[in-house]
Symmetry: C2
Subunit: 157 residues, 2 copies
């Protein structure tokens, strides 16, 4: 398949073939003990993860910097299709309570491809400025490194 | 029951007992030909309504001013519990495409009360400024007038 590209100037895309089974990739996104092993780009780590994986359910993931500072991230799942599609956003902190800042909605899709998994993450923003900020924060390097960490873990399951 | 009040300074609430059956109130919100008869505060009218009433489905409602100008409003349903709860927002124009301006999420609940319906609408905003703007646009008068129009129609069904 041709590589996925952004649909517009508010979207960032990571698109990879992962050499791991789709079911394992899904588990890495939805089981807290697995997510904690790959979700932050090393040397950052994931100190804690609580995932209520259902439409309207919330997530809380705490990232830890190399200096030991912790950064909690709260989100909400908008759509859950096991093994295929996971959509979440920071626009709500609970069903249906607006957050202080709606920054992005992420649509993850997974599909079988040549014995591995086509893994596509689309991060869509409410403004071009937020897309630019996210890109400058290192979206491509960060998500790319995490995808590699995810692939390694998924291969081991 | 005591009247519902805003949970915080980003929320506006309309809370009424309607002298109409809950099933009829639900129909007025979810059937386009009914919604068109009450949704705009007269002398405004509703020129068109397309409602895909399911989680992730979209709505398009066109309001018409007394001068004949038309104003389309697009929204997306986040949660649909038939006869009980309807949640929608303008933060998405489709599943899951961010809109240009996430302004509010509305949570409507309906419950049986004394042979009629306890009807509660909570409009939650992403900022205090947006809540103030909505209040100054006439939220209470507008939603109140529409609730009366809705009640009259629901009684006739």
């Amino acid at each position: 398949a041709p590589a996925a590209i952004p649909a517009n100037d508010r979207e960032l895309v990571l698109d990879r073939r992962l050499a791991a089974p789709r079911a394992a990739v899904w588990r890495c996104w939805t089981e807290p003990e697995l997510l904690k092993q790959w979700f932050a780009p090393l040397p950052w780590t994931t100190a804690d993860a609580e995932l209520d994986v259902r439409a309207g359910g919330t997530s809380r993931v705490v990232m830890r910097s190399p200096d030991g500072d912790e950064f909690p991230n709260r989100g909400l799942y908008l759509e859950v299709v096991p093994g295929e599609r996971l959509v979440f956003t920071d626009a709500f902190v609970a069903a249906w309570q607006p957050s202080d800042k709606p920054f992005m909605v992420v649509e993850l899709t997974m599909a079988d491809e040549d014995g591995g998994t086509r893994y596509t993450a689309r991060a869509r923003h409410w403004s071009v400025a937020d897309r630019e900020t996210h890109e400058q924060m290192g979206f491509h390097d960060g998500w790319g490194q995490c995808a590699s960490q995810l692939e390694t873990l998924a291969q081991s399951l």
